[in-house]
């Protein structure tokens, strides 16, 4: 299954419309195993929709999505099975407020993966340790800071043993002083070789961590390449203008 040439994620001519609004207008993208791809672009450019099409939280209007050798867009695809292998981290954390931290991490392991409660707790503790929050295992989400909540959300996704991690503006809802701890966890993940697709406004993170930066505008990929190229010498006017706006802020 893990043929070295097979990309972790492959998008073929992906289109998505909401009513008459065309949000994605034909996206082709291969993400290799272990690659960290950062997606940047103005708001409304379709970045989040692109991410949400990868685990079919949004159903594409046209085009195909592959995860490894599985075609997610195939009509007979077991979506629940596929989604368990794709970790997703949301802007608003979306922790389960009625469950404590440990249960947030174990519930899907038990329900979806059929792990025993002991096994699930073991994995949960290991993941909490990874994000530095093992002492918060019995707290409820409302008692945690935004940064801590987002780290728990990352641990929750990791507990499922995902092939790919998707980050949808994971730090945009955080107070500025809490952004660092979350980016730190993401950096660590990237260093460990996790395949990551990161929609972000953190240009420094993109420059430092990404293997490839993708600039999206108007529902298409305008430009992509190594961060040094995209940030240092953007070829497209639109990329230049966008970078000037966000970097001089």
């Amino acid at each position: 299954m893990t043929a070295p040439t097979l990309p972790a994620v492959r998008l073929v001519d992906l289109h998505k419309s909401f009513g008459s609004l065309e949000v994605l207008r034909g996206i082709d993208l291969d993400v290799q195993r272990g690659e960290v791809v950062c997606v940047i672009g103005p708001s409304g450019s379709g970045k989040s929709t692109l991410l949400r099409c990868m685990n079919l939280l949004e159903v594409p209007t046209r085009g195909r999505v592959f995860l490894g050798d599985i075609e997610v867009t195939a009509p007979d695809c077991d979506l629940d099975h596929v989604r368990a292998q794709v970790g997703m981290v949301f802007q608003q954390f979306n922790l389960f407020p009625h469950l404590d931290v440990e249960r947030n991490l174990t519930v899907a392991q038990q329900v979806v993966l059929g792990r025993s409660s002991r096994e699930a707790v073991e994995v949960a503790l290991a993941m909490l340790e990874r994000v530095g929050l093992e002492d918060k295992r019995h707290e409820y989400p409302s008692r945690l800071s935004g940064g801590q909540q987002q780290r728990v959300a990352i641990a929750r996704a990791l507990a499922m043993g995902p092939q790919v991690m998707l980050f949808d503006e994971a730090t945009s809802a955080l107070d500025p002083e809490l952004v660092g701890e979350v980016l730190g966890v993401m950096r660590e993940l990237a260093r460990e070789g996790m395949t990551m697709i990161v929609v972000t406004h953190e240009m420094h993170f993109a420059r430092d961590v990404a293997d490839r930066v993708i600039f999206m505008d108007g529902g298409v990929i305008v430009e992509q390449g190594p961060p040094a190229d995209v940030f240092g010498a953007p070829r497209e006017d639109r990329t230049q203008r966008f970078l000037e706006r966000v970097l001089t802020r």
Binding site: N55, L57, D80, H81, V82, R83, A84, Q85, V86, G87, M88, F90, Q92, N94, L95, F96, P97, H98, V107, A108, V111, V112, L113, A153, R156, A157, M160
Partner: protein, 277 residues
């Protein structure tokens, strides 16, 4: 408000305002005076002795016990419990149907809720007790059975709407997060969304329970045996037997002893839910 108070001394005291204040006071004193006159008038005009002998005759009060508790209140609570349990189960199904992605389910549930909520509970009760056996040959056995089924159906429509509102009050991100972890729609609903929804709807649900408890009074019209009399029927029969209103007054007091703690509990839960948000 504070700002207005700070500003006032800098301006010349507005005459209009002062006049208005004394005007308010005049109105208030008139109200006090009027109320006093009314109370005195009632106190003198009402024949208290007769009122007491007709509505609160002590020997008749005593005669209501223990039957009004061991039989009537017990039956009221039995009807309430069965009706609410059934209404909750049915209401949950209807609520989930209303939120279903399958259009015919949504339509059916919408029609059900509209029809049941649009009809008087009394009409439905009579229909289930007398109409069904005549029209379809369906006869639900026993007063407990007929009464509970009717109450369950009536309350299910209201409960369905409460549950639906509760589910919709849970942020969409909760379902998405659960789905992104690989849970099916059903698993996510049961483990993630519904537990949160039920927490949100505890106060309105308590209100539904109080309404249902009062609606058990309607069962008095569908022909009950001595053993299945609930509070209203018990009180009414007492009135007829004694040509005296005392039994109904006592029944009313028993209702209040049941409903007031429940509404207070609902208010308390509502305050607590508001505080924790």
């Amino acid at each position: 408000m504070t700002a207005a108070r700070v500003d006032t001394p800098q301006e010349p005291p507005p005459g209009g305002r002062r006049f208005r204040v004394s005007g308010d006071q005049a109105v208030r004193w008139t109200l006090y005076g009027g109320t006093l006159v009314l109370v005195v008038a009632v106190a003198f005009l009402v024949d208290w002795e007769r009122l007491q002998s007709q509505m609160f005759r002590w020997d008749l009060v005593q005669a209501q016990f223990p039957g009004i508790v061991t039989q009537a209140a017990r039956n009221t609570l039995i009807f309430t419990a069965f009706g609410f349990t059934g209404g909750l189960a049915l209401g949950l199904v209807v609520a989930l149907m209303r939120l279903s992605s399958v259009a015919p389910y949504r339509w059916a549930a919408t029609v059900y809720v509209d029809v049941i909520r649009g009809l008087p509970a009394l009409l439905l009760l009579i229909f289930i007790a007398f109409g069904l056996p005549i029209a379809l040959g369906v006869r639900i056995p026993g007063t407990y059975g007929r009464g509970s089924v009717a109450l369950a159906i009536v309350s299910s429509a209201y409960i369905a709407e409460v549950i639906r509102a509760g589910i919709e009050a849970v942020p969409k991100g909760q379902m998405e997060a659960a789905r992104s972890l690989g849970m099916s729609r059903g698993q996510a609903m049961r483990r993630i969304v519904l537990p949160q929804a039920f927490r949100i709807i505890i106060p309105p649900m308590t209100n539904e329970l109080v309404l249902l408890l009062k609606d058990t009074a309607l069962i008095s019209v569908i022909g009950v045996t001595d053993a299945t009399k609930e509070l209203t029927r018990f009180g009414r029969d007492g009135v007829v037997a004694n040509a005296n209103a005392t039994p109904l007054v006592v029944a009313g007091l028993v209702y209040l002893a049941l409903t007031i703690p429940m509404t207070r509990l609902a208010a308390y839960l509502e305050r607590r839910a508001g505080a924790s948000r």
